[in-house]
Symmetry: C2
């Protein structure tokens, strides 16, 4: 997905909020915005938004000298999500369609995103997810919830590349992977995380904290952007990407980075900003399970 | 009020929306944002936000060659507000406290502001005002609704300077001025409008369309910013400003421009953005009738 003009005010908002989370003084916050302003005229709108996200958070890190401002938030998010792991397992076990329930929970957990909302209260958000996902199922937009197609692709696939998104959410990904393994324990699942800190995106330590290593192989994508932009990926990762039978792309950032790619990708995410919702033609906060090759809507 | 860092993302949003209203191409829209980015590092946060508002809309006018993009919107807003003028008069006539009702309606109409929301549907907004103002009265924040103090100041004042804000809203201002005149027809009321087009702020033609000339003297402030920034005002206006017994400052932009001034000013506006609401310590969309000299909260 290209960068829309509407992304530009949001870039400044993200830069400001990330500076604050990093503990920057008001003067440093202004400096971050000024530096971003200097970069903006040179930035091409033909690149996906996560590339600018990368520039912004690098700028914040440089000026605040804080390399991983979301570290504590990520640890806490994983902890809180792990606390409700037994509840998630029970919800899945009690549902009529275990896989579907695990998918819905995993997508609902995509709301744990500090790129979109910095005032997020993870504990409240998790409670909300547990409370509301029943409702979510009912309101899901059929046009953007290609469950049957996904099941078919899943059944055929031997090697699955799962692109993780945020810390905390990674526990929900584990629950979904466990359901996939239940269908066929011989499926090979490779879970990709970002290589360097970027917002609250899951790193290898978050995947380990969530116990992903118990159910999948963990790989570093090589990326330090809030979306798996292929030009930033390592050779090792690209090999896996090219050879996987199915790619589960989690989160809005990964969708933005990969929406025009010709691989067998299913995008699982929540449409968290108006620009992405307009791009797709869905509503804000719609639950998306979407296959790139079936749909003409993807640009 | 100084410019907050949170105003900066909003400046980009306003620039983008004004470019679109001006019919700019995507390329010109990007150019406007790039030019704004170049200006930003030189802009002092110690000045009130309407000064940047002025820069933004001048930039849009220059690059789109559209000197008054909101012209049609303003005419339509006045027309629609004039259509409900008899309803407004009836509401005032049927109320227990005529002056209070006229004030509440005039403040509610401050929501007709294209600086804050560009997707405004004036017709819907007017219907909403008529429907909801009953509710508004009940939820009004006593701390920010100094009606008794206002009445006292009004009774004593012989010469009143009324700083207008937006087109459409100007019809509601007329209703309020008519109520003030009803208290004492000898009060001299001078209604100030902006001198050059700026967003949907009322110009002399809007005041005339609304019939302000029938109830007050109209004066041009000399200002081409979305708020009466004194350094931009004409000498003639400043004389009136210095000599008035009471100044009724309408709208958020005028509040931002004049909040720290030592004249007897009552600010009548709706807190339309989070930054202003946080600055005051009120809630978003609170109805404000506020005297500058009584309150320590004003910085």
């Amino acid at each position: 997905m290209r960068t829309y003009l509407d992304c530009i005010p949001c870039f400044f908002k993200q830069a400001l909020e990330a500076s604050r989370i990093s503990g920057a003084s008001r003067i440093t916050q202004k400096k971050v915005l000024d530096e971003l302003a200097k970069i903006l005229p040179k930035f091409s709108l033909n690149t996906p938004p996560p590339l600018m996200g990368r520039v912004i958070y690098k700028l914040v890190s440089k000026l605040t000298k804080n390399l991983d401002p979301y570290r504590e938030i990520k640890i806490k998010s994983n902890e809180l999500a792990l606390n409700i792991y037994p509840k998630l397992k029970r919800k899945v076990a009690l549902s009529k369609d275990r896989l579907k329930k695990a998918i819905e929970l995993a997508i609902a957990a995509n709301s744990i995103d500090y790129g979109v909302r910095n005032s997020l209260n993870i504990e409240e958000e998790l409670k909300r997810i547990l409370r509301e996902e029943e409702k979510t199922i009912k309101v899901e937009n059929k046009r953007f919830f290609e469950y049957e197609e996904f099941k078919k692709a899943l059944n055929k696939a031997k090697t699955i590349l799962y692109l993780g998104d945020n810390a905390g959410e990674v526990v929900f990904d584990r629950v979904l992977i466990e359901e996939i393994k239940k269908i066929d324990k011989n499926k090979k699942i490779i879970y990709a995380v970002k290589s360097k800190p970027i917002i609250n995106d899951a790193l290898v330590e978050d995947a380990l904290q969530a116990g992903i290593h118990k159910v999948a192989e963990i790989i570093l994508s090589g990326v330090d952007a809030p979306g798996t932009v292929l030009s930033l990926c390592s050779k090792e990762f690209l090999k896996v990407y090219k050879n996987a039978d199915l790619i589960i792309s989690k989160g809005q950032g990964n969708f933005e980075a990969l929406s025009d790619k010709k691989r067998p990708i299913f995008y699982l995410f929540m449409a968290k900003c108006k620009t992405v919702a307009n791009h797709l033609g869905c509503k804000l906060r719609d639950i998306i399970l979407f296959h790139n090759l079936n749909n003409k809507v993807l640009k």
